[in-house]
Symmetry: none
Subunit: 220 residues, 2 copies
DNA sequence: CTAGCTATCTATAATCT
DNA sequence: TAGATTATAGATAGCTA
């Protein structure tokens, strides 16, 4: 009997710009996930702070941060303290930011717990497939779960809408009174990704060189 | 003939903070390199702009960027209009505070419901052990529950994204109004890396959750 | 787009130089 | 401290649903 090969497995690809658009999208998604996972592992293993910002081919922004992007950027940028006269202002801002950050932490915890719940659900499903007659007694409970989930979902939708609404207000407020640019989603710079990275030369046999230069080699 | 084993090969390690200091250093170096390499490949393959900032355990800053860190950060920060004008600013403040309050309220609700979910799961497992035999005909329900959970997760991720966006706005308002950030070369703060990641619980079976929320979902 | 699968490629933990 | 080695863990290209 001739079977078709189930998979070619992972094929080697040249590190050069992917031409096929859909393919590129998929690769971007997967590798972005992988990159962020690597980053998260580095955080956990070594207890470091990281921020990653990526502008996707589709002009979207993706970011990863521990504890969160803003705090890391803040630290990074304040290494060269901007000649800001309004010191008090920044303090106030920082204080308020604490609230939002706290919310972020809560949300993250919730996400973790939900992941666990999902896992549980999956294993239940698998067990049922493995033999319905063995595990049928678990049936009535999930119904409750579903109901609760519906409510939860509704709450979340509301919340989402509220956030969006508030965001709008904020944006409108600041735009009409001050600066003329609205460009939250703008694509001002086009083709920024066309040029080859200057920091990486695929034709060279030299191992890649990364911008991993530390900036604090015993300066103090 | 007995040969000595040349290598144990790569061993599995738990994703949790490495305790041994020297070991941690080595791992950090290697994984940082690996991370930057992945980033460089992503740049080349997909033609995207990336910035990565890492505060190492040794209090150093490492960064990677294509085309360079500053331009990416600049772009990132510029996405949110720098709010200037005291009047408008206060209005924004007010809205933002309302926002936070609302978020808190909803979060509390969600947390409560999640608690219920957890309890439900616990009792579910107990029941399974007890092996009661009723209601087996409702077995298909759990699948729906799982589906709902998926949706719920998505909703939460969006919510997280919104919160992060808010944080960005606020932070950027306080930073970008002052001056261009150029500098990279100093080391100041200490002890920021001691805390464990709040977003990852190594004792749980939950897979890692990443902060990979895009900002371009057309909310505006 | 999200998710799963498999074969294969790549990263890297442990070890040694 | 840093690079080389090796075997294994982990990431992912190409498909499929």
């Amino acid at each position: 009997m001739v079977k078709k090969k189930p998979s070619m497995g992972r094929q080697k690809i040249p590190i050069a710009k992917i031409s096929k658009r859909t393919h590129l999208q998929v690769t971007f998604s997967k590798r972005r996930s992988g990159l962020f996972k690597k980053a998260s592992e580095l955080c956990t293993l070594c207890g470091v702070e990281i921020a990653i910002i990526v502008f996707s081919p589709a002009e979207k922004v993706f970011s990863f941060g521990h504890p969160n992007v803003d705090s890391v950027l803040d630290r990074f940028l304040s290494r060269i303290p901007p000649p800001e006269s309004a010191g008090a202002h920044q303090i106030v801002e920082a204080h308020r930011n604490a609230n939002v950050r706290e919310l972020n932490v809560h949300l993250t915890e919730i996400l973790n717990q939900l992941e666990a719940e999902k896992k549980r659900g999956e294993s239940l499903q698998q067990m049922r497939k493995a033999g319905q007659r063995q595990f049928w007694w678990e049936a009535p409970i999930p119904e409750l779960g579903l109901h609760e989930l519906e409510q939860l979902k509704v709450s979340l939708e509301e919340l989402k809408q509220n956030v969006a609404k508030e965001t709008n207000k904020i944006l409108i407020g600041s735009i009409s009174s001050s600066s003329p640019f609205v460009a939250v989603n703008d694509v001002g710079t086009t083709g920024f990704f066309e040029s080859k990275p200057t920091w990486f030369n695929p034709t060279s046999t030299t191992p890649n060189i990364y911008y991993d230069f530390g900036y604090g080699h015993g300066l103090f």
